[in-house]
């Protein structure tokens, strides 16, 4: 599902990410580990098609991302990739339901309110459809962000430090939610984290050592 070859990313003269080869199979759940600054977020951004790497080849769901034009890459990302950013970045002006409809609208897929409600029910927010993000607890907002990532039934779900600000109970609940939702769409799940609590749950791990000189 994800195949990375000879990947390098540099900001100016500084190499922030170097990864010779990495693969994640369809439906696989995988952790990307490493200290901050080791390039975890950069790797996720590259796999999501948010960032074009300085060098290397990235294939996601059978598409070579480097060969897609800008708008085609945007379209591909909208339809096949669900992204849960570290700062959840829900749209403050829109209510919970509209935040999910926005994901359908921006991806250019049919706006399906039944699907939106189904996903919100699955993350336990069926009764908060009309709430604005500011009215939600952090845990609830996190669940909206997960719901937003899965609403278009992506093939790959990427989560950047999803547990960094959570206590143990919420940490476990969030991971469980990500896993169950990924399983529900049969998506490959990749979680970037430096949170030691997550390690035990996942067999497949990628350790990023940080930038080589």
């Amino acid at each position: 599902m994800i195949a990375v070859e000879s990947l390098r990313h540099r900001y100016g003269a500084t190499t922030v990410l170097a990864l010779d080869s990495w693969r994640a199979a369809a439906g696989e759940h995988c952790l990307v580990l490493g200290a901050s600054g080791s390039g975890k977020s950069t790797l996720l951004a590259i796999v999501a098609g948010l960032l074009r790497p300085s060098e290397g080849r990235v294939e996601v769901a059978g598409e070579d991302l480097g060969r897609l034009s800008g708008p085609a890459l945007d379209r591909f990302r909208g339809r096949h990739i669900g992204f849960v950013p570290q700062k959840l970045h829900l749209i403050a002006n829109l209510d919970v339901e509209a935040n999910l409809v926005l994901a359908q609208f921006m991806a250019g897929v049919a706006q399906d309110r039944a699907r939106v409600r189904e996903v919100l029910a699955a993350v336990g927010l069926a009764n908060r459809l009309g709430a604005k993000p500011a009215q939600l607890s952090h845990g609830q907002a996190q669940r909206v962000a997960v719901a937003r990532a899965v609403v278009n039934r992506p093939q790959v779900i990427l989560a950047d430090e999803p547990t960094s600000n959570l206590d143990d109970a919420h940490c476990a609940a969030t991971l469980e939610l990500l896993e169950s939702q990924a399983a529900a769409c049969g998506a490959t799940l990749v979680i970037a984290t430096h949170d030691q609590r997550t390690k035990s749950r996942f067999a497949t791990r990628l350790e990023l050592a940080g930038a080589p000189a």
């Binding site: 950013p85 994901a103 609208f105 921006m106």
Partner: protein, 403 residues
């Protein structure tokens, strides 16, 4: 969900900014609309009033005053001229049509004009009821005069001296209304028409039971005066010779309605230009305000824009979103402004009508107003360009990773 609804959601999230921008734009557009409407209607009205009158001969004085008082009926006359001289002039072969006017009195602010049936014919006036005047002290009312005063055929009224309400009344000698005219859209609507003799009769202060016929038969020649003669040329060449002839060889003054109204508009034009420039400054200020509001909003919205990109939006889509927001705001401002302009025009019209002045109406549409809408949309578009470009350039990966 679509881009328009998303734009509206963002506009609603900043209500104070949105209202400020709408008010600024609406004031600018409204002022321009008022100027357009009033200017156009007054010009059109003056054009209709002056149409077919090539020259006015009256007493010496300000030519503009002569035109204003005898063609548009808004100023005091310059004085009177002897009927004999007017008759001589009317017989000149360069004159095709000469209509005498005798002014001096009014009825509730509407001027009483002593004239001939030619005057009604000139403005294509038609009777709505009754007949035209035949004998002294018979009067025909213009449509607006009849409507405002509530008088109809068979009614009686007394004129008062001068043109303002509350002048000395000629109480002994009431006029009898014998006819009412249909609306013509000209100055005729706001007049009371009678024959020249009626005006003479009232002004020589006859005894209570004098018979107009007998009194008028004994009128001395020097008492037979009129205010002005409206002249239509027989040939275009008359324009070159007749005014000079009148001005140099008689005690009369000749003034051209076309020339004097053009002069009037040139003088008023400065004021209108100043107002218009002021309104354009308001529109430009609104554009700047929209620009600043959007520019600042882009700073707050960097994350939202990055999220939309993350969710699959292309750069072009975000650019359209921002431009749409600016243009939607500008268009809403323009529409409110046009409504405001029409309301203001109607209000000004009501004030003018209450003063028996030629009125304007807000219930009229000018195609030039479409240009105002286009102007506002253009201002919105320009104001949105730089913020849209910022949205286009947003670096999503970096922005998403930021706090």
């Amino acid at each position: 969900m679509n881009l328009a609804r998303l734009s509206v959601a963002y506009l609603k999230a900043r209500p104070l900014n949105t209202v400020l921008n709408l008010v600024l734009l609406a004031l600018g557009v409204g002022t321009i609309a008022l100027l357009l409407l009033a200017n156009h209607q007054i010009e059109e009205r003056m054009g209709r009033d002056a149409r077919g009158i090539d020259l006015v001969a009256g007493a010496k004085g300000s030519p503009m005053q002569l035109i204003l008082s005898t063609v548009f009926h808004v100023d005091a006359p310059t004085g009177n001229i002897p009927l004999a001289e007017a008759k001589k002039l009317a017989q000149h072969r360069a004159v095709k049509l000469a209509i005498p006017l005798a002014l001096g009195d009014s009825f509730r602010g509407f001027r009483i004009v002593g004239t001939t049936h030619d005057y009604v014919g000139h403005y294509a006036g038609e009777l709505a009821a009754g007949r035209l005047w035949e004998a002294p002290m018979e009067a025909v009312l213009g449509a607006e005069t009849a409507r405002t005063t509530g008088l109809g055929v068979g009614g009686k009224f007394v004129g008062s001296h001068g043109f303002a309400e509350g002048g000395e009344e000629h109480g002994e000698f009431p006029y009898a209304v014998v006819g009412v005219l249909k609306p013509t859209g000209t100055v005729l609507d706001r007049l009371v028409l009678t024959n020249v003799e009626s005006v003479w009769f009232v002004h020589i202060h006859p005894e209570r039971h004098d018979d107009p016929g007998t009194v008028l038969a004994h009128l001395r020649e020097d008492e037979q005066e009129i205010t002005a003669l409206l002249i239509q040329y027989a040939t275009p060449i008359a324009a070159a010779t007749l005014p000079r002839m009148i001005n140099s060889t008689s005690a009369l003054q000749a003034a051209s309605p076309a020339y004097e109204s053009a002069r009037l508009f040139r003088m008023l034009g400065v004021g209108i230009d100043v107002l218009r420039a002021f309104a354009l400054v308001l529109v430009a200020a609104a554009g700047l305000s929209i620009f600043i509001a959007l520019y600042n909003a882009m700073e707050e919205r960097r994350y939202d824009l990055a999220v939309m990109r993350m969710l699959g939006a292309s750069r072009g889509k975000l650019m359209r979103l921002v431009l749409l927001e600016a243009v939607a705001l500008a268009l809403a401002g323009a529409v409110i402004g046009l409504g405001l302009g029409h309301l203001l025009t109607e209000a000004v019209g009501a004030m003018l009508a209450a003063a028996q002045q030629p009125s304007v109406t807000g219930a009229a549409w000018l195609n030039a107003e479409l240009w105002l809408v286009a102007l506002a949309a253009g201002v919105g578009l320009v104001a949105g360009l730089v913020p849209a470009w910022r949205a286009y350039r947003t670096d999503i990966a970096t922005t998403l990773a930021q706090a």
